[in-house]
Amino acid sequence: MTNIPAPPDFEAEAHQTAARKNRLLASPAVLIVALFGIVPLLIVLVYSFLAPAPYGGVLWKFSTDAYLNFLFQRDIFSDALEFSPAFLLIYFRSFVFAVVTTVVCLGLGFPTAYFMATRPPAQRNWWVLLITIPFWSNLLVRTLAIMFIIRDEGLINITLMSLHIIDKPITLLYTNFAIVLGLLYSFLPFMVLPLYASLEKLDFRLVEAAYDLYATRRQVLWRIIIPMSMPGIVAGSLLVFIPTLGAYVTPLILGGGTHLMIGDLIAQQFGSGRNWPLGSSQALILMAAVLVALFFYVRATTRGTKNG
């Protein structure tokens, strides 16, 4: 056997040059994320280990009180630490709201996206446009509009009363229901659009093949359509779950400040609470919780598609 030197791999070289160029293209975005994402995060991290100044701001003194305060309260008289689940409850409630919102969004969004994806191609873009209409107006305005519809003298109660279905208004505003309704309304498009993107790419010949192989409609849904639109389900769920968890405006307006969610709680620490370190630690705990939840969610949803 003679030794023939391998020919230079021009293709690989070209590939490397292209990769370098692509990195340059991405650099402005990377710079913005670094400057306005990572730097503030580091500031928050530092603040969470400092002590609060009396009128907002921080005192440059190391302290872990902000984290201790998450679960414990210092007795005013004895200075002893007592377990206090108040914050934990708010976190728990936020998680429940976020999960409920995500699940209901998925339940409502999937049939919607499926309907859109099965329209003739020319019609599909119009449906996408219709889904994005809510984005044309401000979230605050839309949330206030919901308030006007569900309040005691709102559209729903007045209609039901004039039809004599009820004789006194049902309290809808400032309830958990109102908050979830508001979140659902705000974030449904974020579920529908990635689902639609996934379903639109679905090869419907696979659906025919499954029918041909004796799968009923239900089996086709669970064995073919849902597994194949998993990327859309994961993306949509994340896009709904994460912002819902930290939602601020919606729970504030529709919950009337009585049903605090994490977003309101953190805002309070930086505002009337005047405890920046506490607010910082709460923000970081939220982030850590989201990361842990994401890790398990992504692992659970991709296992099915990766290893069969």
């Binding site: 499954a210 041909d212 192989l213 004796y214 089996q219």
Partner: protein
């Protein structure tokens, strides 16, 4: 000839399919009538848009006929959903499930039928062996080649032991060599499983080499049904003669019809005896077809059917094509095998054209 309904695996009875309404109405199938026998390799042959795929989709159940019946061993299945028909399909693009392994794909049908896991597993192994893919059982379908995907698609469709297997141009995506290989493979599988195969193709050569019987379709109509020999040697319609192989068309006048043959005086001069299709009604003018390999170019002696001048000679290695301008003005093509000692004619030579006995056929139109 119509078979008794209960002996046909599939009986297509007066099936029409119309798409759209009003001005957009398109008739994809017009009163199609076909009997497909049990354990037969039956081919639907025609150009794209002839309705062959539409007919296949009606048999599979992906679409329902506008009118007519589709009987499976006597039972009308035209309105059943696909999952209630013991019929499986091999799709043109294979349509393998990308989120499942090769083994899971093959077992899918049995799993949906609710068969015990052990039975399904054993059957998957049998099918893998049948298509010679044992070692690829746990591969993803995206990790195997086109020819292998083809075999998996076949195994998947055969695993539930359907009464009829439908194949929608399954070889069209393969390269020439692989296609030849799969043609033999398909014949072998059909023989070993004893399942009725209905094969759709636009490739006439594929149809001739593989099929027990062929239905030639055009514009939603079935023009002729018969064995490869019948379709090739005894075409009854101009479209069939033209679509399958090469042929010479000669205009003439029917003088007399006697049973299965007619005597026709051709414009080119000669009077030939030509076979006639079933139910042929003599009506004066007619077209006669003669295959180019059923004629011979010889030195003119006056006893041949036609006389003419060689206008072109094309050499093909195994055979030579002579284009002869007949004295009546018509072009006539003769294909002759290049055996040693065969007389060679040059362009411009005066020649006679001898036609084999029984080679001429009268077309129905």
């Amino acid at each position: 000839m119509r078979d008794e309904p209960d002996t046909s695996a599939i009986a297509i009875r007066q099936v029409s399919k119309v798409f759209g309404t009003g001005e957009d109405r398109v008739t994809a199938l017009a009163e199609v009538e076909i009997d497909i026998r049990a354990n037969e390799f039956f081919t639907l042959l025609g150009p794209s848009g002839c309705g062959k795929t539409t007919l296949l989709r009606l048999i599979a159940g992906f679409d329902y006929p506008t009118t007519g019946e589709i009987r499976l061993y006597g039972e009308d299945i035209a309105r059943l959903p696909p999952y209630k028909r013991p019929i499986n399909t091999v799709f043109q693009n294979y349509a393998l499930f990308p989120h499942m392994t090769v083994g899971q794909n093959i077992g899918f049908g049995l799993e949906m039928l609710g068969r015990p896991k052990a039975e399904t597993a054993a059957r998957v192994d049998t099918m893998l062996k049948l298509v010679r893919m044992e070692e690829l059982k746990n591969r993803k379908t995206s990790q195997i080649s086109g020819g292998q995907q083809q075999r998996v698609a076949l195994a998947r469709a055969l695993a539930p032991q359907p009464k009829v297997l439908l194949l929608d141009e399954p070889l069209s995506a393969l390269d020439y060599k692989l296609r030849k290989e799969m043609q033999l493979e398909l014949k072998r599988l059909q023989h070993e499983t004893g399942i009725t195969f209905i094969f759709v193709t636009h490739d006439q050569e594929e149809a001739l080499t593989m099929s027990d019987r062929i239905a030639v379709m055009s514009k939603g109509h079935v023009l002729q049904i018969g064995s490869a020999h019948e379709i090739y040697d005894k075409p009854s319609e101009r479209f069939v003669a033209n679509f399958i192989g090469e042929t010479n068309f000669l205009e003439g006048e029917v003088l007399a019809v006697d049973g299965a043959s007619a005597s026709v005086r051709l414009g080119a001069g000669a009077t030939v005896s030509a076979g006639v299709p079933d139910g042929f009604a003599p009506k004066g003018r007619a077209t006669v077809v003669i295959r180019p390999e059923h004629a011979e170019v010889v030195a003119p002696s006056g006893a041949e059917a036609f006389a003419g001048t060689v206008s072109n000679v094309v050499y093909f290695g195994t055979d030579t094509h002579y284009y002869v301008t007949l004295d009546g003005g018509e072009e006539f093509m003769v294909r002759r095998q290049n055996s040693r000692g065969a007389q060679v004619f040059d362009t411009g030579a005066r020649v006679g054209v001898r036609v084999d006995d029984g080679a001429a056929r009268v077309l129905r139109d």
